[in-house]
């Protein structure tokens, strides 16, 4: 078992664990995952993207736990494997929080563990979600998120420039840009009258130095805010990620375990990636002391998760963790289509419905596979929150979520290879009033009409 200082133990194991070349670890992980998929009989059917199968959910959890115990976490700098016993993993899982207080004052929200088909609506912790942003429109963009009625927290995007010059990771430019962006996020929530709203991250920061530079309780990120600590695909960490943990623990900040498992990647197909995703969640529990978890499933070709593979991984991993742990975690819809297109809203909706019935709080949204600068706005993020609430209030079951998601899929699946990129923020919103233009609002109303016909009951929304 761990000594009293788990972090020190992790450090020591990262220096004394088994040496292994990275490619050998990848192939070991791939092989063991496929063995466990067979052993635990985890199956994928493209007509069942949201299975209602408690027993399989439990098997996914058991397989993920076994995978993590068998292969451990890979430390990229030392090329050593950090291993944990099953007792250590389960003990850390028992110690993980089930209730979080995000933000402060009257804007604080309480994030609890959610169960399958939980009647409590999910929170919507959103923002540009690390997508590329221009510095020209950044404040207005952040306001567009913060002002949405169904948004409970914002996370910053990744701006590309500082006073017009490229930002380089690991340099003073990164620190200056992170501090500017954290201050901008705080200014955005102040302007919309929600000064205590939780700020999920300063995503312009890529390195530990950048992330830690945002810790300043007056103008930048407060202990009631959070910072991402990421895993590299799959089950990999390094010193730059680990060094953030003692800082964030000492600052009292929320720690968010960011996972980006690749469907079609080292985990293989959707069944394997669901198993890997459970293992990555456990890594976040044990190594990162995460207060909450952020699953960002990524298709290896389209960098989305609105396809059947992504939806299945979302559904099965969510159910596995909802039934076998008490942690708080979130997921984000990553879409191929951009803001300004109704297809984007359909992609978001399918994901939001499955996520809300499979135990998640919500995160996101990613548009254009996270590639295009400023092709994301507050509208689709608010829409995600509204759909999640509607799904919960309408009592959507997993079976119904599966049916609705499969009915939405034909409305956008032809865009996977030829996405509709939409328009950038400053063309979709009036920059003075920060209001979406009529065509973008029309997309919202069209999507809402479609979802209503599919059985969701909405209350009045911001653009009805």
């Amino acid at each position: 078992m761990f000594t009293n200082d788990r972090l020190l133990e992790i450090f020591q194991r990262s220096r004394r664990g088994q040496y292994m070349k990275e490619v050998e670890y990848d192939l070991l992980l791939a092989r063991r995952t496929q063995e466990l998929v067979k052993e635990f009989n985890i199956t994928f059917d493209s007509n069942l993207v949201c299975p209602a199968d408690n027993d399989m959910a439990d098997r996914v959890f058991q397989a993920g736990l076994q995978l993590f115990v068998d292969v451990g976490a890979y430390h990229l700098d030392t090329q050593r494997v950090i291993k944990f016993s099953q007792a250590e993993v389960l003990d850390a899982l028992r110690q993980a929080p089930d209730t979080l207080y995000l933000g402060e004052g009257r804007d604080m929200v309480i994030a609890r563990h959610r169960n399958i088909e939980d009647p409590t609506p999910p929170l919507n912790l959103t923002g540009p979600a690390g997508q590329p942003c221009s510095e020209e429109h950044y404040l207005e963009l952040m306001i567009s998120y913060a002002q949405e009625p169904y948004v409970h927290a914002i996370e910053s995007g990744a701006t590309l420039t500082y006073h017009g010059a490229d930002i380089m990771a690991g340099t003073l430019m990164e620190v200056k840009a992170v501090q500017r962006d954290a201050a901008t996020a705080r200014e955005a929530i102040r302007r919309v009258g929600k000064p205590g709203m939780h700020i999920g991250d300063a995503a312009t920061g890529m390195t530990a130095i950048g992330k830690m530079a945002a810790s300043e309780p007056t103008r930048l990120l407060r202990p009631c805010d959070g910072r991402l600590v990421a895993q590299m695909c799959e089950l990999k960490t390094n010193d730059d990620q680990l060094v953030r943990i003692p800082h964030l623990l000492n600052y009292g900040s929320h720690i968010i375990n960011l996972m980006t498992p690749l469907t079609g990647g080292i985990g293989g197909g959707p069944a394997g990636v669901a198993v890997v995703s459970v293992a990555e969640t456990l890594l976040g529990v044990v190594c990162y002391f995460a207060t909450y978890h952020y699953l960002s499933i990524t298709h290896i070709k389209w960098t989305n998760n609105s396809d059947p593979w992504g939806m299945y991984v979302l559904a099965m991993t969510g159910q596995a963790m909802a039934r076998n742990a008490h942690i708080v975690w979130t997921d984000d819809p990553f879409c191929v289509n951009g803001a300004g297109t109704v297809e984007n809203l359909y992609e978001v909706a399918g994901h939001a419905i499955i996520g809300s019935v499979c135990g998640y709080q919500q995160h996101g949204v990613g548009s254009t596979g996270g590639n295009m600068v400023d092709h994301h706005t507050g509208l689709e993020a608010g829409w995600q929150g509204e759909v999640g609430i509607a799904a919960t209030r309408s009592g959507v079951t997993r079976e119904q979520a599966n049916e609705i998601a499969l009915k939405l899929l034909p409305l956008y699946k032809d865009t996977f290879n030829n996405p509709k990129l939409g328009q950038p923020f400053h063309e979709l919103y009036n920059p003075q009033t920060i209001t979406p233009n009529m065509p973008w609002q029309d997309c919202y109303r069209r999507a809402k009409e479609t979802l209503t016909k599919l059985g969701l009951t909405f209350t009045h929304g911001p653009y009805d």
Binding site: V23, D26, L27, A30, R31, Q34, L76, Q131, P132, A158, L160, D166, I167, M168, A169, G170, E174, T204, M206, T207, M232, C233, N238, D240, L262, G264, G265, I266, G268, G269, I300, K301, T303, G369, G370, N371, V373
Partner: protein, 224 residues
């Protein structure tokens, strides 16, 4: 069994081993082929390159997943190493289609895309010098100078790290080496517009596209 059917049988075994990603079996099949007098270059050009190219296509069509591609690539690398040694032992020079120095940009530790490109480039007979992740600009150029490379390839997944690609371009420019190397870029955060903006010689969104790009740049150079 005549010579032609023997070659076919050997090729079949090697192809199967490569497709299955069975390194041991692939090296065994390659060694058996050498023992039977099959020229190493024939094995590379007529069996290994087309097989790995086909595996790469199947990956891009989502018919197989990354582990299968990686395992085939590893098996192919092991065979190529054996065959190169055989060529050197016979007193000949190992011919490659060209040399590519590759790595992810400074600050970027995401290398799955880069590794896919490496597998495909090797499958097409290019010598690849992999500098790994988080590579400073100067190191790309120093390594290219040391290895007499033809192409420098830099990838950046994260938008915040793509400036590392510009640094390589700027350094090539400042050291007056732009005409000496083909500089290409790729990765999730790179677009054609960005590649043009920093003065890169080429950009590709996909692994197979990167191979075609290298091929076409080197053909143009040789044709010029």
């Amino acid at each position: 069994m005549n010579g032609s059917s023997l070659l076919q049988e050997i090729a079949k075994n090697l192809i199967n081993a490569l497709v299955q990603g069975d390194k041991e079996a692939a090296v065994g099949a390659a060694q058996y082929a050498l023992d039977q007098g099959v020229p190493p270059l024939t094995l590379v050009q007529e069996v290994i390159v087309p097989t790995l190219t086909e595996v790469g296509k199947r990956f891009e069509e989502l018919e197989i997943f990354l582990p299968e591609l990686m395992a085939s690539g590893e098996a192919g690398n092991a065979c190529t190493a054996l065959l190169e040694q055989e060529i050197l032992n016979s007193g000949n020079q190992v011919q490659s289609e060209g040399t590519v120095v590759i790595g992810t940009a400074k600050g970027d530790i995401h290398d799955i895309g880069k590794n896919i490109v490496i597998s495909l480039l090797k499958a097409h007979g290019y010598k690849v010098i992999d500098l790994g992740k988080d590579v400073p600009a100067a190191r790309f150029i120093d390594e290219a100078e040391n290895s007499r490379a033809d192409v420098i390839a830099t990838s950046a997944l994260m938008s915040i790290t793509r400036a590392g690609c510009r640094e390589v371009a700027d350094l090539l420019h400042d050291r007056k080496l732009m005409d000496k190397y083909h500089f290409i870029v790729g990765g999730g955060s790179i677009t054609q517009d960005y590649a043009d903006e920093i003065g890169a010689d080429g950009f590709s969104e996909t692994g197979s596209g990167a191979v075609e790009l290298v091929k076409s740049l080197l053909q143009n150079m040789r044709g010029a």
